[in-house]
């Protein structure tokens, strides 16, 4: 390459090469110590944009997983409440059938009425259940007791808007049931968006007053209404179950997505340690060789050999 080689040229070239070996070593060492091949945007300008995307997506995905868990616990809680309501209704039905029997003495009817009264109170209590300090059956009025009056429970119109949870980007799921959906809308005669004669509280009120007045046939007239409400509650439970399924599916999907994103992020960002290790080892050898050669090259000149 060069016609004339001087000590200066050799020294400069040696220094340059040793420096280059050093900076290569530094790059590899950085990859080894951080475990990442992208340590700054210029390491891979395209990779960094992916890396940032995966990181954001992962972080959001984790948040959605939390949302899914919260949604699932809401739904579970609702399901428990509905099963409690179902138990109460079952008991009411047994008592009502017992009470519709003509042969009962008045005292017995009064006892039955008293127990149903207790059951109604129980139902109102269920209707006023709170989850994490929020009333669950009052739509978005989570800070308002839905069934504040025991006597007027039948005429209560609960808030009809839902509580939604974002379970994935742009996808939300309703987690609540309104009191009217579970216990029924107010019976005919009350101004409401919708009237349902099988309002549970109304049915119970009717049964109690009929039992108290000894009108057993009227009690048996209420039985079909009790059945239709029970059916509606079961339908609600079924729908709740479907929503739980959906949430569980989403949970599975989010987990899969999490795995995918983590894999992608790792592929984009992470250094392949074996690869880097081997390169680093090779580089170290070269570096040491350049040093030892340097030590030999710098020293001798003609001066050393002239007497």
């Amino acid at each position: 390459m060069l016609g004339r080689v001087t000590q200066g040229t050799i020294t400069n070239q040696l220094l340059r090469n040793i420096n280059r070996n050093m900076s290569q070593m530094q790059g590899l060492q950085e990859q080894l110590s951080t475990g990442m091949k992208i340590n700054r945007p210029s390491d891979d300008p395209v990779g960094i944009t992916y890396s940032l995307r995966y990181r954001s997506d992962l972080s959001l995905n984790e948040r959605y997983q939390e949302n899914v868990n919260s949604a699932a616990s809401w739904l579970d809680f609702n399901d428990t409440l509905l099963s409690q309501v179902g138990d109460v209704v079952k008991r009411v039905k047994e008592l009502a059938i017992q009470g519709s029997n003509d042969t009962n003495p008045n005292v017995a009817l009064d006892n039955i009425a008293a127990e149903i009264k207790q059951l109604k109170e129980q139902l109102v209590e269920i209707g006023n259940s709170q989850f994490k300090g929020k009333y669950v059956f009052n739509g978005q009025f989570t800070d308002e007791k839905p069934y504040d009056s025991l006597a007027n429970a039948a005429g209560k119109i609960t808030d009809d808007l839902g509580i939604e949870y974002m379970i994935s980007s742009g996808i939300s799921i309703k987690v609540n049931l309104t009191g009217n959906e579970v216990f029924g809308f107010p019976p005919t005669g009350v101004t409401a968006p919708q009237n349902e004669d099988d309002n549970l509280f109304n049915v119970l009120d009717q049964i109690i007053s009929n039992l108290e007045s000894g009108n057993t046939s009227a009690v048996s007239d209420q039985l079909p209404l009790l059945d239709s409400r029970m059916d509606k509650i079961l339908t609600q439970r079924a729908e709740l179950g479907a929503r739980v399924n959906r949430v569980e599916l989403m949970e599975q999907r989010l987990q899969d997505l999490n795995l995918n994103l983590t894999t992608l992020q790792s592929k984009t960002e992470d250094a392949e340690i074996e690869d880097v290790l081997i390169k680093a080892k090779v580089n170290e050898t070269i570096y040491q060789a350049s040093l030892s050669v340097g030590a030999k090259v710098i020293q001798p000149s003609l001066v050393d050999f002239l007497r």
Binding site: Q7, G8, Q13, P41, S42, L52
Partner: protein, 519 residues
């Protein structure tokens, strides 16, 4: 007819010349490691022979040599390599500064990391999810406020670092201007000395070395070319601007350098790299950050407000003003609002009676919103209850439905909403994209620029090194060579001395040994 003592003169000339050559060899060896030193050679020529042509010339065969003399001592140097070196050096100077600045920018951006702007923004969006889980809560609101503060802090800090970087560069240009002036002054005074010395017919080798070294150093700072005048002076030019001429130099200032950059005369060197770094990279990054901040706060976005929402009284959306019963939406409404601020104003704070949300982000100095002055709305800073999450009111007198979280949910999706950045772009129009998209594109662009600058720097460095090697190969001192020369000159000197002795003996024979027959 030759003189009796002719040969003594010849021997003397030889002795002197070989000694001069030895002396120069010693000088070369002494300066083997001097930066910018050019090896020197003694140019020997056979001196003028005896007996020029003429009528009275003798008939002896001739011509008889008269020995050696040295006509000059010169540097071994190629001017072409010098200009090539300076040309490449300015490129290297410019790119190395650009690469350096971009590396600093990369440090400021601090990505990929779990603490950079991206992570802070992600946490902010996540806090809105928390709020949407507990919209009745003041705790969740405080969390939103704190993460929002972290966002404004991160933007403020980045903006401040960028300003500092920009100021640092300006200061450095001043330092470089001083350095340039010192070099120019020394070059012009060297010019004068060289002219004086060379006017007498000598070669001012070492002074020229110093001047060339200064030119080399200068060529790293700015683009310089030199033209040598007949009397040995350098006329130094930066593009079309004359910096040194006729023993005078024109000092540069930060302003004059800036003007030369604008006029195109300053086209390379570190100062060039600094001005590009400051006015392009840093300024561009500042501008992009400001666009990002404005897009986040005020950029046009399209949102769908769910049915059941009750709009704040008198609000105007897409040129329709909502009041009275029209405020209650019976079906979802898709409208364009102005960024997070516009979105936040669609909802209600926790205050009673209902109060529509205010702007979310605001500038803390009243000026246009920038990354540097971005802050939270003063009300929110004072009381997190001013953060809106509900979009619904009920009853008379109206009360906010605290369990409604439509707004919190909308905002939690904000990170994926397409913002029309052209509606707020500071400077050139920018395309649509989410906040994250935009930030990614900024980081990506920075990465590409830094990668390019790094590559260019490495390339330029290799070229500079190559040219320098070639120059060294021509001008550098080779100890081996000098040692061989030394041996050569020493032998020549010894031989000349021996010759002198021989002549001495010859003369001794003539003077003392002849005409003494029979003594």
């Amino acid at each position: 007819m030759r003189s009796t003592f002719h040969a003594i003169e010849t021997a003397k000339r030889s002795l002197f010349t070989q000694q001069a050559a030895l002396q120069t060899t010693g000088h070369n060896v002494a300066n083997a490691n001097t930066v910018g030193y050019t090896r020197q050679v003694v140019n020997m020529t056979a001196s003028k022979p005896m007996e020029a042509i003429g009528m009275s010339s003798s008939t002896t065969p001739g011509q008889l040599g008269t020995g050696v003399e040295f006509s000059s001592i010169t540097r071994i140097r190629e001017n072409f390599l010098d200009s090539q070196f300076r040309n490449e050096n300015k490129t290297h100077g410019s790119w190395s500064i650009q690469a350096d600045t971009l590396q600093k920018l990369e440090t400021i951006v601090n990505e990929p990391s779990d603490t950079g702007l991206r992570a802070v923004l992600d946490n902010f969006w996540k806090s809105w999810h928390d709020l949407s889980e507990n919209p009745e809560d003041i705790t969740a609101r405080k969390l939103v406020r704190e993460t929002a503060k972290a966002v404004t802090d991160a933007f403020n800090q980045t903006a401040r670092q960028l300003e500092e970087l920009s100021a640092d560069i300006t200061e450095n240009i001043g330092v470089k201007a001083n350095q340039i002036n010192t070099s120019l002054e020394t070059i012009s005074s060297l010019n004068l000395q060289i002219r004086k010395i060379e006017g007498l017919g000598d070669n001012a080798n070492d002074l020229r070395d110093q001047r060339d070294l200064l030119m080399d150093e200068l060529s790293k700072v700015i683009n310089v070319t030199s033209v040598e005048t007949n009397d040995g002076e350098y006329q130094v030019m930066m593009g079309g601007t004359v910096l040194v001429d006729n023993g005078e130099f024109t000092p540069v200032t930060v302003e004059s350098l800036q003007a030369s950059f604008a006029g195109g005369d300053l086209s390379g060197g570190e100062v060039h790299g600094m001005i590009i770094s400051r006015d392009q990279y840093v300024a561009n990054y500042q501008q992009q950050l400001n666009t990002l901040v404005n897009g986040l706060a005020n950029g046009d976005i399209t949102v769908t407000i769910p049915a059941g929402a009750v709009l704040p009284d008198g609000i105007t959306l897409d040129n329709i003003t909502y009041s009275g019963t029209a405020r209650t939406l019976t079906s979802p409404l898709t409208v364009t609002v102005k960024g997070l601020n516009g979105l936040h104003q669609l909802g209600y704070t926790m205050m009673d009676p209902p109060q529509a949300g205010g702007t979310f982000f605001a500038s803390n100095d009243g000026g246009p919103l920038t990354a540097g002055n971005m802050s939270l709305n003063a009300n929110i800073l004072a009381d997190a209850g001013y953060i809106a999450s509900s979009m619904r009111t009920t009853g008379t007198p109206e009360a906010v439905v605290k369990g409604n979280k439509d707004l919190a949910m909308l905002i939690s999706q904000f990170s994926e909403m397409k913002i029309d950045f052209s509606s707020v772009a500071v400077g050139a129009a920018t395309a649509q994209g989410s906040v994250n998209d935009f930030f990614r594109s900024i980081v990506g662009q920075l990465g590409v620029e830094a990668e390019e600058a790094n590559r260019q720097t490495t390339n330029a460095k290799i070229v500079v090194d190559q040219v320098d090697s070639r120059r060294q190969s021509v001008s550098g001192v080779s100890l081996d060579e000098e040692m061989s020369n030394m041996v050569k000159f020493q032998h020549a000197y010894n031989a000349a001395a021996r010759f002198m002795t021989t002549i001495d003996e010859t003369l001794d024979r003539i003077i003392n040994g002849m005409g003494t027959v029979g003594r």
